[in-house]
Symmetry: none
Subunit: 282 residues, 2 copies
């Protein structure tokens, strides 16, 4: 009874930690080759995650079929299923919560409860912030600040979805005593609003997919006139990148059709304060 391959206490685990626990608990009751595999798997988890049945079998000193038996003895469909556990673990380390959010969304059925709606957006925001910590390089960030600090006036460019970020920058820079002009493109006067900028100024341009043409065009125009351009965008393939002297990457997570702006705001605030501090030093 207690030796059943599947009892209540050791149901097939769906995450690495559970699997680890299960393997350890079965250590003494496993047959030779399977025990050997268990030991190998726990000490070379990345190899199990990436390897092929044949490759792992050779390194572990067993037959390929043993891997399949091993996986099945734990309750998985086959080796491929077991491998998923090891892969998921690596994924988590480098979080792409996309899937987690998807699960959250699906679980609510068609009737999305309002509370989970709020949860979802809060999660997306938190995820974005976490990602930003990795994607923004301190050196680039410093260079961006350097560029902005040297500018006489900072021209702020951001349309549609990211307009709020640009608008906030206008507020923050103003508070900090840094001269900044928000190009709000009112009455289609964008080009004229930017017309007074010179090489001694700088442009802070913000744009995410789908890139608003106005922002890209104005940034390109500024670059052509040798005005330093600092860009905040979401991919190296953004049209802003070609115009920018320095660019910072922010990939915001989305929930439903809407993307967070949290990381962009945090970055914008840090840029503003950093710029003001740098100026004080000069």
């Amino acid at each position: 009874m207690g030796a059943d391959s599947e009892s209540i206490t050791d149901a097939t685990p769906e995450d690495y930690e559970g699997l680890r626990t299960l393997l350890l608990s079965r250590r003494d009751t496993m047959p030779k080759r399977l025990k050997q595999l268990a030991a190998f798997a726990l000490s070379h988890p990345e190899e199990v995650a990436f390897g092929t049945v044949a490759g792992i079998a050779e390194h572990a000193g067993v037959q390929p079929s043993t891997l399949v038996r091993f996986a099945k003895s734990l309750g998985y469909d086959g080796f491929s299923h077991l491998q998923q556990i090891f892969r998921a673990r690596l994924r988590e380390r480098f979080p792409d919560y996309r899937e987690r959010l998807r699960v959250l969304r699906d679980s609510e059925g068609s009737h999305v409860q309002s509370a989970s709606l709020l949860e979802g957006f809060a999660d997306a925001a938190a995820v974005s912030l976490g990602r930003m910590r990795e994607s923004v390089r301190p050196e680039e960030f410093s260079r961006a600040i350097e560029t902005l600090a040297k500018a006489d006036t900072i021209y702020l460019l951001g349309a549609r979805r990211v307009f709020p970020v640009a608008a906030y920058c206008a507020y923050a820079f103003g508070k900090l005593g840094v001269r900044a002009i928000l190009i709000d493109h009112i009455a289609q006067l964008g080009p004229e609003q930017l017309g007074t900028a010179t090489e001694r100024d700088a442009v802070l341009a913000i744009s995410f997919t789908p890139y608003s043409p106005v922002t890209a065009d104005l940034a390109a125009a500024a670059a052509r006139r040798d005005i330093p351009v600092v860009a905040i965008t979401d991919s190296a393939f953004s049209p802003l990148v070609t115009s920018a002297d320095v660019w910072l990457e922010v990939a915001e997570a989305d929930f439903g059709a809407f993307r967070s702006l949290s990381a962009s705001f945090a970055l914008a605030m840090a840029l503003a304060v950093g710029t003001a501090e740098r100026r004080a030093e000069i």
Copy 2:
């Protein structure tokens, strides 16, 4: 000569960083689908590491054969070879992900300050999000949605620091097909902009300490004319509370003199989507 698929300067890279650099340098000379794939690969590296040709192709919106062409155009034997690069990166990253950050922070001297600035704002944002989960009660949130969903037109009120939130709401509501008007108070025309509102409409007012008088005044005026008011504010003592039919509490954390807006944004997005969904039900 310079257009050779393999010149001295862009030899096939054997690590992720090199690959990234190569892709960026070729950004402008790549054909459409390959560029699309390059962008996808850089923004979903884990998927490239773990996925199959067919799976990745589908997510990236290209044909499987394009993946192979892509890999070969970079000088690899085939997709499998390219995939090795992405896998190697995950392996390396795995052990010292936290450590790398620490080392980076300690070693870089002058970049330390700016990096910690960014950390600080990101932290403040994360804290705000955490707090909001507790401070916003689901029932209140539902009532707010109910009120907004019944409105014919939603008037958005937010000045100074929170203007970006109101501006974003205008964008989101527009996208969702909900009629909304942003009271931007341009040329001091706020009272006139709000003049057309009736009891069948609603006002969404946002204000935090120090409460901007305009917002409080306009919200009070609206309440006097029996226009339903939903408020997002930071305390029970806010002047908005007396005018509001429903109010939601959001206490943003600050870093230095600047307060986060992340929680407000998440709440605003959730309100917008919730309202649109509620309307669809009616």
